[in-house]
């Protein structure tokens, strides 16, 4: 019997584990998930927490409740990957061996990578930070607000734009719009890295009187002077700074042979193999594939890995559908109960429809349906 080990009980880890459990008989393999946290977080919900539209506590469920019962779950933190001996070492010193390994450890926002950002900046990319921002917004009475992307890469690339739109709506409803100046910043020469998304988003920012500062690569935050400085020499004064920190892969991958210095696993963009290792795969945020780090990316990658493992265990030929074609699908909330959808793959860039109410309500419904459809690998 083969041992399949999946590190991570988030979106990608749960999808792969449940897909494998559905496909394999109990005597073919033992499937084990190791998760650092007992809880699985529905991170897209954190976008709404600062505005009081979601309660952070309702966005988590025990990982155990999302996994099929034949899957073994270990709560613990992997501290070392010893791929020569096909084993991982946990923080309590335990060793877990594997025949097949799937890495789905996600990404970590690292405000400490930019001087002053932890002290001067806020964000909504963790449960704690989204709730802290809720408290700040409750007290907010107007001023200069700078919202932006503090460094690349970061997960859910459209979330900072969505946050900006929702923030503008929020302060307008509070009657503070005329007391508030909003500036949106982005590191590249456009408001977003995909041109068709930038073409939709930029006019909306302009219509809503939101200043745009492109080519803004955050270099330093002077928290005591309330200034955000860019590598390009731009200085922005702020009363409230909301900056998405640059991300890294998890610590045990940083500098490991299968990853780069920042912990992004060197991943084959089609088979999702980690480097030349034929029994190791990576999916979701932790890969170095130059594509959006999004739950939907993990959703479309998961079955590609599961099929390869099943075929290998059964000695079967791989089908042509056993490659990941770069499919990503995300909503783009534009505020005032409207949204658009962004759907693309490696060969076809997204074509966006004008934001509309139907898409917004689809996103709202998806936020609730997530638990039943996605980590359970129902769709």
């Amino acid at each position: 019997m083969k041992n399949i080990l999946i590190i991570g009980g988030g979106t990608g880890g749960c999808i792969v584990a449940n897909t494998l459990a559905k496909k394999l008989d109990d005597d073919e393999a033992q499937i084990t998930v190791i998760s650092a946290s007992e809880q699985h977080h529905y991170q897209p919900g954190w976008l709404y927490v600062p505005f009081g539209r979601e309660d952070a506590r309702s966005l988590t469920r025990p990982v155990r409740s999302l996994l099929k019962k034949q899957i073994n779950l270990l709560i613990g933190k992997v501290e070392q990957l010893d791929n020569e001996n096909q084993q991982v070492i946990l923080d309590n010193g335990d060793t877990v061996t594997y025949d097949y390994l799937v890495i789905a450890t996600g990404s970590v926002p690292c405000p400490q990578d930019i001087p002053g950002l932890s002290e001067g900046g806020n964000h909504f990319y963790t449960e704690k930070d989204s709730f802290a921002l809720y408290q700040i917004l409750q007290e907010f009475r107007g001023g200069k607000v700078v919202i932006g992307v503090g460094g690349l890469p970061y997960k859910c690339p459209v979330a900072p734009l969505e946050f900006t739109f929702l923030f503008e709506e929020f302060i307008k409803e509070k009657g503070l719009r005329d007391k508030t100046e909003i500036t949106y910043t982005f590191p590249l020469n456009a408001v977003f890295n995909i041109p068709s998304v930038a073409e939709v988003a930029e006019p909306i920012l302009q219509e809503r009187n939101i200043n745009i500062e492109t080519f803004f690569n955050l270099e330093e935050v002077k928290a005591d002077e309330k200034k955000a400085l860019s590598l390009e020499g731009t200085e922005l004064d702020y009363d409230l700074l909301i900056m998405i920190p640059p991300h890294r892969g998890v610590p045990f991958l940083q500098g490991h042979d299968i990853a780069d210095a920042k912990g992004w696993v060197k991943t084959n963009k089609q088979t999702l193999h980690a480097g030349d290792h034929k029994n190791i795969w990576a999916l979701g945020d932790t890969t170095d594939i130059p594509i959006s780090k999004a739950g939907s990316t993990a959703h479309f990658e998961g079955p590609v890995i599961a099929k390869q493992i099943v075929a290998d265990i059964r000695g079967q030929e791989l089908g042509e559908d056993c490659v990941y074609e770069g499919h990503v699908m995300c909503f783009l909330e534009t505020g005032y109960s409207k949204a658009s959808i962004i759907d693309f793959d490696y060969s076809s860039p997204p074509v966006l429809k004008a934001p509309n109410a139907l898409m917004h309500y689809q996103k709202m419904a998806f936020n609730k349906a997530y638990w039943y459809l996605i980590p359970t690998a129902t769709i």
């Binding site: 590191p187 080519f215 590598l231 130059p290």
Partner: protein, 79 residues
């Protein structure tokens, strides 16, 4: 360009927008003032984005050279 001594060069061929630009930004962050940096890009978007970024950041674009159909951008870190 014969007289220019390149301090550090990066071959970003095969990586797409914003790869080559981010590579240049990473190099500028790590370099000393006065260093000459070179980035080779095969992405069409770089033709516009790299010189625009160098102008915005007030560094100096010393030149562009053709390298087997790709473009080598040579930049001096000025501050």
């Amino acid at each position: 360009m014969e007289n220019v001594v390149i301090t550090k060069e990066s071959d970003a061929r095969g990586s797409f927008c914003p790869g080559p630009l981010m590579e240049l930004i990473r190099m500028v962050r790590d370099a000393e003032v006065g260093d000459v940096l070179a980035v080779i890009s095969s992405d069409a978007g770089s033709q516009k984005d790299l010189p625009a970024w160098v102008a915005k950041a007030k560094h100096e674009l010393l030149g562009q050279e053709d390298v087997d159909g790709a473009v080598k951008f040579i930049i001096k870190k000025t501050h």
